[in-house]
């Protein structure tokens, strides 16, 4: 699509994009530097783990999962949430959701790649990784999860690409912004012959809608499968019918929070107030309020049921979470910042501002990660069989520096992509905004 085919408004968006693409501030350079250092520390930790073995982590015979699995389910859940939101906004043609679709899809794509890396960190024998496919057991939730995540990653990549193809065409042909040769080649390659004629546009729109349509039930199933890895295990704390729905709701809420943070950051950094308005923050806030209330109800329902039934193992597990000498502080704080505080911020009209919602989202994002950790570790510390001949230090899990470095490396990778991607792909979809609304 050539510049002469673009509307005035679209040209203005392009110019704005050109401004922030070609400039890299000192603050950005400093941030990138720090993030790269964090990632390198993670790579060092990984090298240590590969050469010495999993003994460098805090995982032992009894508590076999820790930070890696917590981060895996966290990132994958967030990815699924972003995908379902983006697909729904696109498919139902929600007008106010236009600037959010791309941000949500990008977030879903990046977290969808980071999440499975944490699973690979947990695997002791990489040389047997292919066994998951050649000796797959159809009855196993692990097999379902492997297939579902692989299928999902292809789907989200396809969806992202379909969303971007029109803009790649614009970027490859326009002369409004100056591009280095390598970017020009990338844009041209990714355009795959799209020139913007009506038939091509109709084909792209139809394909994008069909992928968006399929994503919604597929991701819902993917959510279910991920939660069934825990829910179908006969462990108190996991074996609960409400585990799945709680996981789904909390993950979508976390995705929303992450999208809000990204929106706030891009709006501030790239001056996108015209596109990312207070209205988007408010509407996403309403959706989040709805989800958080349900999440709070599910959480309450789960624990009151356990408490009332007084089952030995379930109660022991619950006591671990409520005991302030064990996981009590983390549990209560994560529930406060994950449920109570968001309801307060969004529920009270005076507090419902973009800045407050963003700050609340930041806390929620951390709180839900802690909640994922509390899903995994306390249950495993609550052994079902007597731990005979087990060293006392194996009875509890404590993450090591290697694990922390790798978790921070994962988070840093996400932030790094969030900073660098707008240098290549415009955050505001030019092709979607023909005229100012």
């Amino acid at each position: 699509m050539k510049t002469k085919d673009l509307t005035t408004f679209q040209v203005s968006i392009l110019k704005e994009f050109g401004n922030h693409v070609n400039k890299i501030s000192r603050l950005e350079i400093a941030c990138v530097f720090l993030l790269v250092v964090s990632i390198l520390l993670g790579i060092w930790g990984l090298w240590k783990q590969i050469t010495i073995g999993h003994g460098v982590t805090g995982m032992r015979d009894n508590i076999v999962w820790g930070h890696y699995i917590s981060s895996f389910i966290y990132f994958i859940g967030v990815s699924y949430g972003g995908a379902i939101l983006a697909a729904a906004l696109y498919y139902f043609k929600i007008e106010w959701g236009k600037p959010i679709i791309r941000i949500a899809t990008l977030m879903a794509f990046i977290t969808g790649i980071i999440g499975p890396v944490f699973i690979l960190l947990c695997i002791g024998r990489f040389d047997r990784l292919h066994y998951l496919f050649i000796y797959a057991r159809v009855q196993s939730p692990i097999t379902w999860d492997v297939m579902v995540i692989s299928t999902y990653l292809v789907g989200i990549t396809l969806f992202l690409y379909l969303l971007l193809i029109k803009d790649f065409s614009i970027l490859s042909t326009t002369d409004v912004i100056k591009k280095p040769n390598w970017k020009q080649k990338i844009y041209q390659f990714l355009t795959i012959g799209y020139s913007g004629n009506d038939k091509q546009e109709a084909l792209i729109d139809k394909s994008t809608r069909s992928v968006a349509f399929v994503i919604i039930p597929k991701v819902t199933l993917a959510f279910a499968v991920l939660s069934w890895i825990f829910g179908m295990t006969l462990r108190p704390g996991w074996h609960s019918t409400i585990f799945g729905p709680t996981f789904v709701i909390s993950s979508i809420a976390t995705s929303l929070a992450l999208i809000i943070i990204l929106m706030w950051f891009y709006r501030k950094w790239y001056g996108l107030k015209e596109f990312i308005t207070d209205r988007q923050f408010e509407y996403l806030g309403y959706i989040m309020l709805f989800l958080i209330v349900i999440y709070g109800y599910f959480t309450f329902s789960e624990y009151i049921t356990v408490w009332y039934s007084s089952g030995e193992w379930e109660t022991a597990g619950m006591q671990k979470l409520f005991n302030l000498d064990e996981f009590g502080w983390a549990f209560h704080l994560s529930n406060f910042f994950g449920i109570v505080f968001p309801i307060l911020i969004i529920g009270v009209r005076k507090l419902r501002t973009p800045n407050a919602i963003t700050a609340m989202s930041l806390l929620l994002v951390v709180a839900i990660w802690v909640r994922r950790y509390l899903t995994v570790v306390p249950t495993l510390e609550n052994t079902l069989l007597p731990m005979q001949e087990t060293r006392p230090e194996y009875a509890e899990y404590t993450a090591t520096m290697v694990e922390w470095f790798l978790v921070f490396a994962g988070a840093s990778t996400f932030i790094l992509f969030a900073i660098l991607i707008p240098k290549i792909i415009n955050i505001i979809p030019i092709s979607s905004y023909k005229f100012k609304t």
């Binding site: 159809v138 009855q139 789907g155 396809l158 795959i192 012959g193 799209y194 084909l203 394909s207 597929k218």
Partner: protein
Amino acid sequence: MLCLGMIFITSLTANGLMDDQNEPISSRMNLTVTQVNGNDYEISALVRARIDDRFTGLSGLEVTFFTYNEDEEKPLGTAVTNNKGIALIKVEDDQILSDTLDMVGFRASFDGNSEYDGSDDELEIIKAEMNINANEETDESGTKSRSVEVILTSQGNPIEEEYIYLYVKSMIRPLLIGEEETDEDGSVTFEFPTDLPGNMDGTIDFYAFIEDNADFGNVKTSLNKDWGIPRIEASPKVERSLSSPNPPLWLLISFIGLLVVIWGHYIEVVIRLFKLKKIT
């Protein structure tokens, strides 16, 4: 100078130039003979060495077995020690040499190699015979009772006050049925249970055994009887279930069906993209 000298000597020792680590380690051999069913002999030689303050069986060593009497010695064969350091051969009665007193001599020898010194052991035993008879009776009420009689003799004479063990062969370890002392007739009777699981055809392999007798060594005799409860053959067809290798059909169809539908859709979209350029 003295310190330097001590350091030098210590380093030589550490490098093995002065210690005796390169000399062969001395080995020991223990010979055991089991008389089997009155006709055969199982001869085993355990070759060990003291390594790191522990006696460890030496594997891969060739041991030569001999039989001898007061006049001559003849080789019986060779065997190589297994990972527990045991070399085993089986010979028949007509291969061995005995003397006029029915005393049989056995010798085993390991010649040594660069790592271990040679060792040998010898043992003389008296031939013994152990006969085993299985008896079954049914009383007036129809209840079956089973007993196993074992008679131990040597040179036609009963051997009394000798402990005999009755075992049933099973998959992992032999099952001990009883332990009794022979009477003045060299006889002992064991009550045999009637509810033991047997092989596929309902037979049971059991054997009587005396162990480490100073005169006779080990003596063993076995019998196979149809006294076991036949094992029901597992159905060759494995039912489809969550816990079997074959998944439930509905699960398999759903799983494959979903993957086919979703991936089929992806392939269709990708094909459409490839056709994009041709659309004008």
